[in-house]
């Protein structure tokens, strides 16, 4: 086992110490930060906090309830709403720039619900939203405050599974975003680690170091060291990114306190880890088998690229899975080993998944991982000294 650690350490440090690695790791969060910063600023600058006005010809807003002004959050702040007696007065205020737009409620407003908006340019959505909220609040003025609140905010529906263990809240924004982000991270990790692993295996052949290596260490220990070492490189990269993501989330939560109610479900996290780890080993070992049976880096990378297709495929169906997480198609994708690491956590986050499906999926993944490792070991043993010749799957499975 000692020698396995030597291989692991060598493989890990070889990549992590390189300038190229450090650059690659830091460039992604920096890139995302710049993109996020630009979009945040562009939204911030587009918000117009100039008050809006209204002319009430229907007289139903005789004693209006005003909107509260909201907190420090620039996105949550309500616009100030100023009443005007006549259209002319409102028009002149608009001309002078005191207000950015005004609504006219006709005398028959309560019967028709029609209103008119006068503005110099097309106003932002907050103008409509805030005025609509203002109208609703006043329409509900006569009701008890609790009833008014329920009407305004709608119901918070909580889904309870038949087994009664797991509950999903439809208000949990993170429950939708997180599985998608986790899936993307998984794909990235597989790609990165798999790439490193392949490179290291094919290099062993290109450098013709195989004979020295196998007369020093057993192929199984070498393989284990290489797979774990290179997976660790990919995980290091992902963990650094997650660290930046955590900073980002803390920052976002500070800015948007309304998101704080959202929480990460621990059950979802457990399922995520349980599917990610065996899937990770499965894909890595399959890539290793290819690395050991092909003779050139380029060729190996091309074949390994094929593995990311079934992993990426579920992203095409995200909308279908989200709208119907328990359809036969969704269930199939969540059990199929290649799409499982992306789809199963997503279904768990969105819906109540029967326990047998979760257990089956994870078991299949573990069996697939062990089989792939076995395949990789064999491919390595047989492909050992074949320079320039590819090993066929048939040979790997047949030969003793």
């Amino acid at each position: 086992m000692h020698k396995m650690w030597l291989v692991l350490k060598y493989e890990y440090l070889r990549h992590v110490k390189k300038k190229r690695f450090i650059l690659a790791v830091l460039s992604v969060p920096l890139f995302i930060l710049v993109i996020m910063g630009i979009s945040f600023l562009s939204v911030l600058f587009s918000i117009d906090n100039t008050p809006i006005g209204y002319v009430d010809q229907s007289q139903f807003l005789a004693n209006p309830v005003m909107l509260t002004q909201g907190g420090s959050d620039p996105f949550e702040k309500n616009l100030e709403i100023i009443p005007f007696d006549t259209e002319q007065a409102a028009q002149s205020a608009l001309d002078q720039g005191q207000i950015q737009a005004f609504f006219i409620l006709p005398p028959d407003y309560l019967d028709t619900g029609d209103s008119k908006l006068v503005s110099k340019e097309i106003p932002g959505s907050e103008v409509y939203n805030d005025f609509r909220l203002f109208l609703r609040k006043n329409l509900l003025k006569g009701y008890e405050p609790q009833i008014a609140d329920r009407v305004l905010e709608g119901a918070d529906v909580e889904l309870v599974a038949m087994e009664g263990e797991r509950e999903r809240s439809s208000a949990n924004v993170l429950s939708i975003i997180l599985p998608v982000v986790a899936g993307i991270l998984f794909m990235l990790a597989v790609n990165i680690s798999g790439g490193y692993l392949l490179q290291s295996l094919v290099e062993e052949k290109e450098n013709r170091t195989m004979e020295i290596i196998v007369t020093s260490i057993s192929p199984t220990q070498l393989m284990a060291g290489k797979i774990i070492g290179n997976l660790s490189v990919g995980l290091t990269q992902i963990i650094i990114w997650l660290f930046f993501a955590a900073i980002g989330i803390v920052f976002v939560l500070r800015t948007f306190p309304s998101l704080q109610s959202a929480q990460i479900d621990s059950f979802f996290l457990i399922i995520m880890i349980l599917t990610f780890l065996p899937a990770f080993v499965m894909v890595a070992a399959m890539m290793a088998a290819i690395g050991a049976s092909s003779s050139e880096t380029k060729e190996a990378q091309q074949i390994a690229g094929l593995f990311t297709i079934p992993i990426a495929l579920p992203f095409w169906f995200i909308a279908a899975i989200m709208s119907n997480p328990n359809s036969p198609f969704s269930v199939f994708l969540s059990i199929f080993p290649f799409s499982a690491p992306v789809i199963l956590p997503m279904r768990v986050a969105l819906s109540a998944v029967p326990t047998w499906q979760i257990v089956t999926t994870i078991l299949i993944l573990i069996v697939a991982a062990i089989f792939s490792l076995w395949l990789a070991g064999r491919a390595f043993r047989l492909g050992l000294l074949r320079y320039g010749k590819r090993l066929s799957l048939k040979e790997i499975l047949q030969k003793g």
């Binding site: 290099e203 450098n207 004979e211 020295i212 020093s216």
Partner: protein
């Protein structure tokens, strides 16, 4: 107990039989030659000994048993397919390979430093392996073979890619290792290179053993058939007992092939009887190359 005991091993790749019933032993402390022309099955035999290939038939015992992970640390192997990690510095590459042979990092660094010094590679230790010349890489590979102070050294074609100076250095190194009591197996097709080094040898051709035994005994066995003569005057065309006579580049130096059953002593008597003035009379000790050619042409098993 023999260090290596190869018992009737056979290995074929597809329809090609690479090794066909080869048997030999390597005794502790000797320099053993595993010889034969290109494609004779030498490298395959070595790979079977080192458990890289499994033999189809027959068995190999090393240090008195099957290969284990611990035994790998006691063997130094210089493969014919030379290879080092190209993308890392020479020092890192050597230290990594030494630690895989069970050495501590600190000790391997010390040993590698002294080897680099000795091989004039100290200035290149920080260079990437791929930046080194072929000869330097060859020497670096030799360090990898010897750094963990192995009891058994197996080297495949040790002199390829080496100039005469480095060839001499490697020979000296092997002699030195032999004096330290190490067992050495040398595998080469350059038979003349090992004549001065080997104690015993096995000669294989087309996967089969054709000669096996002590170098001195083999040479003895094949000597006596030829004598070298240097005379003051040209030799007469026919001397009893001499089958054929070749004149080397100088006209007055001859190589005489004797008729079967005629001893060199008889020829000497005949020459003296004819009053031929001799400057040199030598029973030629045949080179391994000559012995090899003689054996394979006799058995008709040589493809040109």
């Amino acid at each position: 107990m023999s260090t290596i005991d190869v018992d009737n091993i056979t290995k074929s790749f597809g329809t090609q039989i690479a090794v066909d019933g080869v048997t030999f032993q390597v005794e502790p402390g000797e320099i053993f030659g595993l010889l034969g022309p290109n494609g004779a099955g030498k490298t395959t035999s070595i790979r079977i000994i080192l458990d890289i290939f499994k033999p189809d038939h027959g068995s190999v015992s090393i240090f008195g048993g099957a290969m284990t992970e611990d035994k790998k640390n006691r063997i130094g192997y210089l493969p014919e397919e030379r290879g080092l990690y190209q993308e890392v510095s020479l020092e890192n590459c050597l230290v990594y390979l030494a630690t895989l042979k069970g050495m501590s990092e600190k000790r391997s660094q010390e040993r590698i430093s002294s080897f680099l010094e000795r091989f004039n590679l100290s200035d290149h230790r920080k260079k990437k392996v791929k930046e080194l010349s072929k000869g330097m890489q060859q020497k670096a590979q030799l360090i990898t073979t010897l750094v963990h102070d192995p009891e058994l050294i197996i080297i495949d074609e040790p002199f390829s890619a080496l100039d005469p100076i480095n060839t001499q250095m490697v020979k000296d190194l092997l002699r030195e290792q032999s004096k330290l009591g190490k067992t050495i197996v040398m595998c080469t097709h350059q038979m003349h290179q090992v004549e001065q080094l080997c104690d015993r040898l096995v000669l294989i051709n087309r996967g089969k053993t054709i000669l096996y035994g002590k170098l001195a005994e083999i040479q003895e066995q094949f000597s006596g058939n030829e004598i070298i003569l240097r005379t003051e005057n040209p030799l007469p065309a026919n001397i009893p007992g001499i089958q054929s006579l070749h004149s080397e580049n100088s006209h007055l130096v001859y190589k005489a092939h004797l008729e079967d059953g005629v001893s060199p002593q008889v020829i000497l008597q005949n020459l003296l009887a004819q009053n031929i003035i001799l400057k040199q009379f030598e029973v030629s000790s045949p080179s391994l190359d000559e012995i090899f050619i003689q054996v394979v042409t006799k058995s008709g098993e040589f493809d040109a």
